[in-house]
Amino acid sequence: MIAPGLPRLELPIERFELSCGAQLLVSPRPQATIAAVSVHVRGGPALDPAGREGLAFLTGSLVDQGTAAHDEEELAALLEPEGGEVGGDAAGVSGSIVNERWELLLESLAEMTVAPAYPSDKVELHRQRLLDRLLVERDDPRVQGGQLFRKLVYGAHWLGRAAYGTRASVAKIGARELRAHHRRNWVARRGVIAVCGQVDPQAVRRRAERLFARWPTGTPLQTTPPRFPARAVRSGVFPSKRAQVHVYLGHLGIQRNHPDYAALVVLDHVLGTGPGFTNRIARILRDELGLAYSVNANIHGSAGILPGMFTAYIGTSPDKVRTAVEGFRREIVRIQEEPVGQEELEVAKSYLVGSFPLGFERAARRASYMISAEVHGFPPDYLERLLESFAAVTREDVQRVARQHLHPRQCVLAAAGPLAKAEVGRLARP
């Protein structure tokens, strides 16, 4: 039933290694009106020392506060009138601009990557803004519920910590630490640069070669095998006097390169992420039981180099939480015990295969895909292979991966809102 003859997604990628050691990926896109550039630096919050959580985030997010060549105002004056939008985070810095000014964007991001200034006054300003934000988020049940859930799943591993840090850790971070962290970790051998737009790949290469020439080569990222708490029933509550309770039920998930990835994407679409009411959880918990406006379940979305999480989420009134948690468990068990219907399987697969080109209209999306493909080591024909993998998933595959990767009797449960701790503890037990 998969719709035949779908238009193909054209995403040509030319790959270069720059003299500095960074990888450059260029995807020419004829007629594009917007160009996007993304610089990814491997490492991220994993490199935050204990007690300095938020260091990687601040290092990346403040690269736009001035460079050796331009201060922050000059950068804004150059970029903004050309539609230039730039933002950094723990994983690097990226931006987009009207296509004809792609060189300006590449030049600016190269400056920010290679020679950010971290002026003390600007660092202090933005650190204080982050502290203010963390103070407000301290009482936000949605934020705290999500954070509690991560902690219950990942324990003391850095994935269980807040990427922005805490008020205590951020208070200890200053400009000197940002410069040192940047010097140690923002090095070319860990860098991937992606450019998408109406560009000539060779022209991009020549320009990038010159702009990134002074980026220190450094050493590749060293990683250690992660350790996570064993899957088990655990629970926690963030009490808050609000109208709704945010409920998170789940456990440790899979890595992005797991061979079951395609089957789990299909499973997710049948169980809890298919559009509208095509997934079981939205159809039953939202449509039939009227429990919520926002409800979903997903294991593939957070899969990365390290394992993601299986998360079933609902925002609902306190009197409906028990029905919701029971509903989640019932649907997880059902997809393990009964093969999915042929029609719902085909609907999910058709969507996954057919909707793929829709997600690649924006240049920024193309650039972020190129980074992801490089970081995960996907082959050049990965997208085609992935679509073929979706199309090949069977009812038996879905049941097998549901049994192998979903663990309804070993879930953690985090709740944030007007609900008692004892009640959450009772709900956590299957």
Binding site: M1, A3, L6, P7, Q31, T33, I34, E72, E73, A76, A77, E80, P81, G83, G84, S96, V98, N99, L125, Q128, R129, L131, D132, R133, V136, R138, D139, D140, P141, R142, K241, R242, A243, Q244, G274, P275, G276, F277, T278, R283, R286, D287, G290, L291, A292, S294, G315, S317, V347, A348, S350, Y351, V353, G354, S355, F356, P357, L358, E361, R362
Partner: protein, 429 residues
């Protein structure tokens, strides 16, 4: 049948009006093999009676719950099977339904829209089940302090006009609403004469028009809008400043100021776009630079020119930095607004703001859905050509026009000032 064409975002735009009154905009662009289909109805919270508050948005939900040919869930199933996506949204002035498909199958959207335009089921059991979902959506909004604050400010800004009401309605009006009342509203507003269809992307305009006629051309025009719409008092002018304070159980001091302004598409609407860029568009804008960067009395600031069919709001949102008194932040905002009302903006600053807006046009039309949304919103609320003319009007705006508009509209005695502050016990912590 009328026909005209112009260009926007690299797309050639053709306009047609069918005999039943349906206005059709076809925006042809072949960058990607993708097509967006958006159907807009002139039916939003503004068109509701007091008793019907929330019916427009609730009806938007029910449009996915069954029509003659598409039973409950069928629209999502068909969209998904064809590898497409769909969604919908409701505002104070209109409701819009959106599909995006690969370009060889987008016509399926027309079949769906035709069926639910003339034969919506509104099954009573489905109606009651979906009401619970809408009530949960309302509860979700009640947990968002910015939403609660801006709603309170909006209610004060429009004391009699329906623009005062939240688009989602109130729990009491929603609970009291029955399928019969929704059916009445649907029959008043959901027909070709009260709708605009936009098809944008990888299309052949002649074939697209033929498909539109085939699926939607035979639906009767329906009751003229003027007869269908309820009477309402005009959006009255503000008399004197109003102030309100809410309490929330966190440490934020949130400020929302709103002024009543002008209708969409007027000259002053374009000038207010420029004003909002001068005040908070980018890192060199006046309010961001002074309040966030230099004086550090706000952690964030934004403004929004929200013009509507019958009036408009100019919104200002700011969060007070810890250690700054709310009154101090307000005083500094006032000083910047007063300066903009008194001293014409410098030529270079004005030119920069105009360039930011012009460059933003490319971002605003990057996807076929962006393009369909921009054209459709202007078309349903006023005239789609405004999507093209606004930039030209902004380009010829003078510094004196900016000054005069701010001095006329954004003054203290026309505004509502709302604060959301920590609960009393927190103030002493």
């Amino acid at each position: 049948m009328r026909d005209s064409s112009l260009e926007k975002g690299g797309a050639r735009i053709h306009e047609h009006v069918l005999e039943n009154g349906l206005r059709v905009l076809l925006a042809e662009r072949h960058l990607d093999p993708v097509v967006a289909v958006m159907l807009w109805y002139r039916a939003g919270a503004r068109n509701e009676t007091e008793k019907e508050a929330g019916v427009s948005h609730f009806l938007e939900h029910m449009m996915f719950k069954g029509s003659a040919r598409y039973g409950k869930g069928a629209i999502d199933r068909i969209t998904t099977t064809l590898g497409g996506t769909n969604n919908a949204f409701t505002t104070a002035d209109h409701t819009a339904y959106w599909f995006e498909f690969a370009s060889d199958r987008w016509e399926s959207a027309l079949e769906v829209e035709a069926d639910r335009m003339r034969a919506l089921l509104l099954d009573p059991a489905e109606f009651e089940a979906e009401k619970q979902v809408v009530l949960e959506e309302l509860a979700q909004g009640e947990d968002d302090p910015w939403r609660v604050l801006s709603q309170e400010v909006q209610s004060a800004l429009f004391p009699r006009h329906p623009y005062r009401r939240p688009v989602i309605g109130y729990s009491d009006t929603l609970k009291a609403l029955g399928p019969g009342e929704m059916r009445d509203y649907y029959e008043r507003f959901y027909h070709p004469g009260n709708a605009v269809l936009v098809v944008s992307g990888d299309i052949d305009p002649a074939r697209a028009l033929a498909a539109v006629k085939q699926h939607l051309g035979s639906i009767p025009a329906g009751k003229p809008y003027r007869e269908a719409d309820a009477f309402r008092a005009p959006a009255e002018a503000q008399r004197g400043e109003q102030r309100l304070t809410l309490r929330w159980d966190d440490e934020a001091r949130r400020l929302c100021i709103a002024w009543p302004t002008v209708a969409l598409g007027t000259d002053e609407d374009c000038i207010l776009d420029l004003v909002s860029t001068l005040l908070a568009g980018g890192r060199l804008s006046r309010l961001y630079r002074r309040l966030v960067i230099e004086e550090r009395c706000a952690t964030s600031i934004s403004v929004h020119n929200d013009t509507r069919v019958e009036s408009g709001c100019f919104w200002l949102f700011a969060e007070c930095a810890q250690g700054t008194q709310p009154a101090e932040l307000e005083r500094r905002i006032d000083a910047e607004l007063e300066r903009l009302a008194r001293v014409p903006v410098a030529r270079a600053e004005l030119a920069r703001a105009k360039r930011i807006i012009a460059a933003g046009e490319a971002h605003d039309a990057e996807s076929v859905s962006d393009l369909a949304e921009d054209l459709g919103e202007f078309a349903i609320d006023a005239d789609w050509r405004l999507a093209l003319r606004t930039l030209e009007r902004i380009q010829r705006t003078s510094a004196e026009e900016v000054r005069r508009t701010v001095a006329k509209l954004l003054v203290p005695d026309r505004r509502v000032v709302g604060w959301c502050l920590p609960q009393e016990k927190r103030k002493t912590r």
